[in-house]
């Protein structure tokens, strides 16, 4: 195990103070692959180990998967490059030379922002693992020219502008870790507000903050209505906090153990999932437009069975972006039973997005949930997503090399995306479509209405 991997292992293990949990994460998540990218950038794209070198190694497609899953993932799809490539001819005509993968135009509109890649940094919340690293995460995302999400409860738990714990950044420090490095006109920040943050009027606070005002004026700030998350659809945010924090938050969250009377190291802190009907959602979206006309409006939804009904509301209300987080989405803390049994897998969410496209809904869609490489990005684009969001890969990458780890990781992912799109004979993100993807599984092929590659 390389040295950063050991460090990461310790970090992961310490989060739940159980080495087994860390081991499971290392075994089931492509941590080594992400670490290599975070260390070496695009040099990590080739499958040489420290023992192989170019000119000596013999390599081919790995036909095994790291861990068999209970449900289908995007890894059961493959991209289908063609021989005949009219779009490449178009590009060649523009360039007056044969195009390379470097000629793919990746700049993408995501939810009212411009992004250098069809990729955003997913919202991460108040849990230590993301929050302690947030200065590097924010800077990394800003410098890479991609939008970044800020999850729930950050201000309520860590303070808006005054620290609740000396060693932890405030909401505003986290926000400006991004905004201070933003490369206009690229990027943008997406801010969530939990029911508990709403108690303190977080969005109003941000909207009336003179320091943030210039960024609203430039259209670089979105507010995101959160309808659950991938790892625990239908449940509220859950985390553990210290006794001091628990005492100060007691009135706003649900604590199974009363921090005033029960003595523990850490207290489970639950937030409410929030109650919605179509009418409540519609009303909330409209109020957002009225109250914060300069903010973009995003929706983040967990993997719910009625996604399509929500997409219709979002489309009618002209929401800037709808992000859907599949059940494999990352989490700082979710009940095991929720991880096992709640919600639609990411690929099933992508199917809903695909259905929405067929129905002619015009909301821009962003997909997230255990997506970590360029292949995932291009497959999602092929099936109707406008962009994807990554979460955990950035946590791993930041653990390896801070903001630079993020830049390296994105450099590698960017080249992957370029290569894959160009291999399809296409040079624009918007040209990637249905025809570019096939399934290794017949049932899946039927469900997604794409070719079964062995047929």
């Amino acid at each position: 195990m390389s040295e950063p991997l050991t460090k990461l292992f310790m970090k992961v293990a310490s989060v739940r103070s159980a080495a087994a949990a860390g081991r499971t994460f290392l075994e089931s998540y492509p941590v080594d692959e992400i670490i290599q990218k975070a260390k070496h950038g695009k040099d990590a794209l080739y499958p040489f180990s420290d023992l192989d070198e170019y000119g000596r190694a013999l390599l081919g497609a790995d036909i095994s998967v790291k861990q068999a899953t209970r449900f289908s993932t995007l890894d059961e799809l493959v991209l289908l490059p063609p021989i005949f490539t009219p779009k490449r001819l178009e590009r060649m005509t523009e360039l007056a030379r044969e195009p390379f993968f470097s000629d793919v135009d990746l700049e993408t509109a995501i939810g009212g922002f411009r992004s250098r890649l069809p990729l955003a940094m997913a919202s991460m919340g108040s849990t230590d693992v993301a929050h302690s690293q947030s200065p590097h995460l924010g800077r990394g995302a800003a410098e890479a020219g991609i939008p970044m999400g800020m999850g729930e409860n950050i201000a309520t738990v860590w303070g808006y502008a005054r620290r609740t714990k000396a060693s932890m950044p405030t909401f505003k420090q986290r926000l400006f870790a991004y905004l201070d490095h933003v490369k206009e006109p690229l990027g943008g920040v997406v801010i969530q507000q939990s029911v508990e943050d709403a108690f303190d009027e977080l969005w109003h606070k941000v909207y009336t903050d003179p320091d943030v005002e210039p960024f609203f004026r430039k259209g670089l700030v979105a507010f995101e209505v959160k309808l659950g998350q991938g790892a625990k659809p239908g449940l509220g945010g859950e985390t553990k906090v210290s006794r001091d924090a628990a005492r100060s938050l007691k009135g706003k969250y649900y604590f199974p153990d009363d921090p005033d009377t029960v003595e523990l190291d850490l207290y489970e802190r639950h937030s409410a999932p929030g109650t919605y009907t179509e009418e409540i959602l519609r009303g909330q979206l409209r109020s957002l437009r009225t109250n914060f006309p300069r903010a973009r409006i995003w929706i983040k939804a967990g993997p719910f069975r009625d996604l399509l009904a929500m997409f219709r509301v979002a489309s009618q209300e002209r929401i800037d972006a709808v992000l859907v987080d599949g059940k494999e989405g990352g989490t700082g803390m979710s009940p095991v039973i929720a991880l096992k049994d709640l919600g639609l897998p990411t690929l099933a969410c992508l199917k809903r997005i695909n259905d929405a496209r067929l129905e002619g809904l015009r909301a821009p869609f962003v997909l997230s949930g255990r997506l970590f490489d360029g292949g995932h990005v291009v497959k999602a684009l092929a099936l109707g997503a406008n962009a994807v969001a990554f979460g955990r890969p950035f946590i791993v990458a930041v653990g390896v090399g801070g903001a630079k780890g993020i830049r390296n990781y994105l450099e590698a992912t960017e080249v992957e995306i370029r290569m894959l799109i160009s291999s399809l004979g296409k040079y624009k993100v918007a040209d990637v479509s249905h025809e570019d993807v096939g399934s290794l599984d017949r049932a899946l092929a039927d469900a997604l209405n794409i070719p079964f590659v062995y047929a």
Partner: protein, 330 residues
Amino acid sequence: MSDPGLAPLQDHLRTSYRHVRDPRMQKVLRVQAALGSAIREYLDGEGFTELLPPIIGPVADPGIRGAKQATINFYGREYKVTSSAILYKQMMAASLGRIYFFSPNVRLEPLETASTGRHLVEFVQVDIEEAGATYEDAMRRAEDLVEHATHGVRARAGGELEAIGRRLNGGGTPYKRISYEEALRILADHGREIPYATEIPWAEEEFLSTRFQAPFFIYDYPRGSRGFYDREHPDRPGILRDFDLLYPEGYGEAISGAEREYEYARVIARLRETGENPSKYEWYLDMLREGIPPSSGFGIGVERLTRYVCGLKTVWEARPYPKVAGVFSP
């Protein structure tokens, strides 16, 4: 201050302690006082009871268009400074029938409002509520009140108005009434399309206001564009029984009013439109569960009325010691 555009205003308002001795300002303040007594004369004559306004409480009106509520530390708990007295009005009307406050409000408005000429962070509104009234009744009340105040002020401070050089167009009641949808159509006809079901933006409101020579109503706003307490038409879902009164000549919004939701189950669903946990409004919900009668009412900003009557360029010329978003002044 981060916004360099505010610098001239900042310079101007830094000496606002001195402005109150300016001869023109003295006249404006006398007109304002005359307006106050004309309003009181009208309302008292109509059987309204004036009440002392609440200044702080555990919750305040959340429907204040992006403005943030001011807070104070109330013995370890956070209390809100009144953003409007709306939550208190319904019970007072249930008790006394017809009531009003001269209610000081504080709203930490977004910085963008510093340049509208129509927004103050601290202002006074006459907040009126009438048990058993419909929103049509409330509109009639609103136009009577504005007519009485604008006529009354001529009797009381005609000299000042003449010196200021302001002559109001007659007009007379009833004021013109256009629906929200018609307002959107007028705007669209002038190339100013706005998304359905949002409140009319400041610039468009001002534009609409320039199209009229006398005050006019916009009624039937769609759900989502206004506070949770504006009552939804029982037989026209999505449409609210509410209204704004706008001054003409570009002076913009004068009054916001509505029939109130008063049934607990309807209010709790509407409250979620704010994204908050209804438990925050505990006392208000308890009150509704215990049952209160229907009512309607509205609020009219005293500084905006003064601005209109005196024909002032901006609303911060219409009160002593004005507070404007993002501007530090006495």
